[in-house]
Symmetry: C2
Subunit: 344 residues, 2 copies
């Protein structure tokens, strides 16, 4: 009927009250008399009114949105974390804005999003590289929306964070390979400078030292978590004179690429080489061979981070009960690892 959206005025007129009362009936029902509230609600239904978010946000000084900074939206690992964030956010009436930090022109924009709280009430940062930027800019006298780091995280930053114990994960992987008899163990790492990369590599080396296994730098290959980099690593492996009998890959996707390359080169997994991944993405259990890997609770990372953030938004001055949350990871043994072949 109307050719414009109903506003609070229209509801007020319809219900025979002031706009203030309508606003209160909707936002603070207890402040308004039973009968009035009913009348307002009826008028709302009749007019089809819905609050105009921009106006509400302007007045209330909040945005009703939280921003998630993701290194790569296309990565299934992150999309699961996002799904967790989104479910919690929606339950609390927040929208989730997703920004992909992989496009360089975004970086500056994101920092400023952070500095000014007018675009989001809070941030969840899934990109560890940004930790430093945020850390540096931190003039504490400046108003800033709460931030929670998830997944990736920089050790010298003290923001609230939720992550998994990369070191323990890597140790479990090595322990498993060791128990199978492997003493010649290689590694395909994540991108240089990444916190996961670093922590997993360290956990791996620590464990190897503890077990008295020799660490050979030439068996440490550089990857970047992607399928392709796993494939590239397999080519390097094939070219080695002395080859490790087991390889720990810092992501499942790299493990897939690596195994795929090995098969193409005529080697069998786990017959000739055992491979352990990291993440336990969905497909890992259906890969052939099903991948032995370290499981990360991806959904949970998202939900916990979102809950922390929402708590921070609600009471910014109250510190969190547990600001640094570290989730356990599990070794999932499948078919890509086996006893070391007797011949070797």
């Amino acid at each position: 009927m109307e050719d414009r959206l109903p506003k609070i005025q229209d509801v007020a007129r319809e219900a025979g009250v002031s706009t203030a009362t309508v606003s209160r009936a909707l936002s603070h029902p207890a402040m308004v008399a039973e009968a009035t509230r009913e009348a307002v609600l009826k008028a709302v239904r009749k007019t089809g009114y819905r609050v105009h978010q921009a106006a509400r946000n302007l007045r209330r000084g909040r945005t009703g949105a939280i921003v998630a900074l993701v290194p790569n939206i296309g990565n299934p690992f992150f999309s699961q974390v996002l799904a967790g964030i989104e479910s919690v956010a929606a339950r609390h009436g927040y929208s989730v804005l997703v920004a992909d930090t992989s496009r360089p022109q975004n970086r500056r924009e994101q920092i400023s999003v952070y500095q000014h709280s007018d675009r989001a009430d809070g941030l969840i940062v899934l990109d560890g590289r940004l930790a430093l930027d945020f850390g540096r800019k931190g003039r504490t006298d400046e108003p800033r929306p709460p931030i929670v780091f998830a997944c990736e995280w920089n050790e010298d930053i003290t923001f609230p964070s939720v992550m998994i114990d990369n070191r323990v994960g890597a140790r479990k992987a090595i322990e498993h390979l060791y128990a199978l008899g492997h003493r010649n163990i290689g590694h395909v790492s994540g991108p240089q400078g990444n916190v996961h990369t670093q922590a997993r590599k360290e956990g791996m080396c620590d464990m190897m030292r503890e077990l008295g296994v020799r660490i050979r730098p030439q068996w440490f290959l550089n990857g970047d978590f992607t399928l392709q980099s796993g494939l590239d690593a397999s080519a390097q492996w094939l070219a080695m004179k002395e080859k490790p009998t087991a390889v720990f890959c810092s992501s499942d996707e790299m493990a897939f690429g690596f195994i795929s390359g090995l098969k193409a080169g005529g080697y069998d997994v786990p017959g000739d080489v055992s491979v352990v991944g990291f993440d336990d993405i969905d497909i890992s259990r259906c890969f052939i061979p099903a991948l032995t890997t370290i499981r990360q609770p991806r959904l949970e990372i998202g939900t916990i981070a979102a809950n922390m953030l929402i708590e921070l938004i609600a009471s910014p001055n109250e510190p969190l009960a547990e600001p640094q949350c570290s989730l356990p990871v599990d070794l999932i043994v499948r078919d890509s690892t086996a006893q070391i072949p007797p011949a070797a």
Copy 2:
């Protein structure tokens, strides 16, 4: 220094001009004298001013955001499409809000987001199920933000849309299997009621009829695009007395589950059975065997949809040059299909 964010007033004072001039210098630089503009920009830099989005949106009557309704954020297929949307949106100064339609409590909310244009300037709908809802509610005299459907799409709805030609994709898959000598062809479909499911099944059957291949309903298994449903289908296949020698799966993930189940049951792909997937997600080329599949240009779907939407937002009354965009799909032949074994 300041304990509150700089506002346009502060810039105006600093530059010695009115707020109107500051606003114009930023939004319509041509309207303002060279020298004044410089002064304003200097003041902006000095104060660290950034426009307050909520205020701007309220005044301008737009939100600067577009909403993407996704059936399942966690699905890597959609996250690639999202990545495409996000890149275009960012280039035009729009934020992307992602909403997951899989949670039922969201459905009503989403419809109302759509009906009221106060939360988003436009919508991209990746969930075909919502097409009907939108279609029904379509009282054309009501103001509504522009909508573009992507991927999934309901034939009797005439919204602008970008999708791929499911029929042709399915035909190519069958044609390929036929050329390899297969005459006994099965299918694992997507969820019932889904447009992709329907179109692919129809394309498949059309092609089989044209080629004179017998269609056996008991070889058509129901899936839902997920890994698990492919695994379930493999159990059904294993239980069949007469088995097809080739199976066309309506998604790559299902194909993975299916092949995985077959291997576990002692059958070889492609030795005993040829399998074709649909989507060409990243991992397909590294699966073992590398998956023969139909490639969908996922990123492109997103970018085109976003471009269409932004054009619609800019000039809502001007119809699009090409409102229904259909992208071509290609058959990618890899190692999961082979000549029919001579024994059979």
